[in-house]
């Protein structure tokens, strides 16, 4: 659809104003390029170079800081933990949300509207309020400071995905399922062989958003993953920042390694990420 109000004539002042505002915003967006750029350059400096020449091009490109964090210390372990948490949490949460949303939106039963509202509560209550009970519950079932426990908590956060999926599932024509049913397909066959393939785009979008949130999560891993061997990347970076002068070059490399996955995802799927965010829970 063509959004531009065609034939609109802008006065010269309005045009200048727009140009100036655009220029300001472009300069503003350069801060992003600037900070990421400095970090990238700094991560390629040797430690001596970094101290004397904080901003500016490296004298010689060196991968010392990368080698150091990748081959010494626990960084690689944190990286692995973050991958496990993100993949486990995302797959689990998205799958669970799709199941739940399908059950709610495609069947008629008593208490349907109650359930819809019930699953929305999670969106309205920030996890900060419930983190202490979560801590105690996980401790009780012996999953505190363990990756599976954290993954279970991530999996339970289905509110937003469930809401979005419900909205989407309602748009699928009933005939699609009816004809499959006539061909003798069971409920779960229908769900896995018809619904999931049809909804691939929206499922992928929600998975993407969930993955980014979990990859970046700081608060929950900090409280629920206390022991050293289960720490996630964000915690490692926090550790580096709190002793910044000591771990300067390591932290640069660590930040770049943590950033790369999300930045790649963003460059590839920025429109889906935006769409998932705006088309989803928060709108309307």
């Amino acid at each position: 659809m063509k959004r531009r109000r065609s034939g609109e004539i802008l006065s010269p002042t309005a045009r200048t104003a727009r140009g100036v505002l655009a220029a300001i915003l472009i300069v503003y967006t350069f801060t992003t390029v600037f900070v990421i750029g400095i970090t990238l350059l700094d991560s390629l400096k040797t430690k001596g170079d970094l101290v004397s020449n904080f901003v500016g091009l490296p004298k010689a490109i060196s991968f010392d800081s990368y080698k150091k964090i990748l081959f010494e210390g626990d960084f690689i372990n944190y990286f692995k933990n973050s991958i496990i948490l993100t993949v486990g949490g995302t797959v689990g949460c998205t799958f669970l949300a799709a199941l739940t949303a399908y059950g709610i939106s495609r069947y008629d039963f008593k208490g349907k509207s109650f359930l819809t509202a019930y699953f929305l509560i999670g969106m309205m209550v920030p996890v900060q309020v419930s983190v202490l009970p979560l801590f105690l519950i996980l401790k009780k079932i012996g999953l505190l400071n363990k990756l599976p426990g954290m993954i279970l908590v991530y999996m339970a956060g289905i509110s937003m995905a469930c809401f979005v999926f419900q909205k989407f599932f309602r748009t699928i024509p009933v005939e699609l399922e009816e004809s499959a049913r006539l061909d003798g397909a069971g409920d779960f066959t229908i769900f896995f062989c018809i619904i999931i393939p049809v909804c691939k785009p929206v499922i992928a979008t929600m998975a993407l958003i969930t993955a980014i949130q979990e990859w970046n999560d700081f608060y929950m891993p900090m409280v629920l993953l206390g022991s050293k061997n289960v720490k996630s990347l964000t915690l490692a970076i926090y550790q580096y920042i709190s002793q910044f002068t000591r771990y300067m070059s390591e932290s640069m490399a660590a930040v770049i390694i943590t950033l790369i996955p999300v930045i790649i995802l963003y460059f590839l799927f920025s429109s889906q990420i935006v769409e998932g965010l705006t088309g989803g829970a928060v709108k309307g």
Binding site: I26, T32, I104, P126, Q128, L132, F191, N216, S270, I273
Partner: protein, 299 residues
Amino acid sequence: MRKKKHILFIAPGFILYTIFIILPIFYVFYLSVFEWSGLGEMKFVGLENFKTLIFNDRVAPTMFNALKNNLKYLLCVWLIITPFQYLIAYLLYIKIPAFKYIKFMIFMPYVISSTIVSFFATLLFSPNIGFLNKFFEWIGHSEWQSAWFGDPNRAFKLMIILIIWQGAGSGIMIFYSNLMDISQDIMESCRIDGCNEWQRFFRILLPLSLPSCASIITMSTIWALAIFDMPFILGGINGGVNGCLDFANMVFYRYTFGSGLNGKSNLGFGASICVLMFVVMLVVTVLQNKFLSKFEYDT
């Protein structure tokens, strides 16, 4: 026949969700009336924890200072961040030059973790090695140098700037897509009627898109009252110099997982802070929705 099968679909999600999302909310209320170190016996103390929280002369000032900061931040959300987001969304909507690039770049920090944003802040604002102080020295204006986050007058403002840089993108995109949803017929007729850009903004776009923005404003309010990551990393566990970056959630963290009240840990006391936060959230959200619903009208 489609009977009972829905239970199989809903049950797994329902069980996990109830255990890890719903149960904790009730559990925190339950805990708040006990004195409990996490081990051993739980002692029922009624509203004692809340009394300590509000009247104890050691705890209360910290708590109120933190709540004050929360409300200050909330005011910033309402008066600075949200209008800023709406303005940018509008600029994207009228397609200012390079709007595609701006849209892409302005949203990007949203996918960056707050830990990394705080790291970038350290790069720029660290008093000793930070880029800004070095830069001011280089251009010969050493008097512009500052302790930045170490300066209680500046720390809060800087944090707001960082939050705008990181988090404004999501709101901008939601406002933008709400603007895009306004029917083109309306835009067309207002163009034919010859209304100018100001009139179009204030009489058409703003009233038509505001009701659909109520939910995003509600969400940002809730998150504003629960803020933790950024002040924690930037200001340290004690909330910066003179508690200028102290927030309710950090007080909760300190007393529950940190040093504890009077040296002994009391989870019930931590829970009572959560309950207080929850109540403040509820009150603010209800009041805010009452206010926002005034703008709603039928289309």
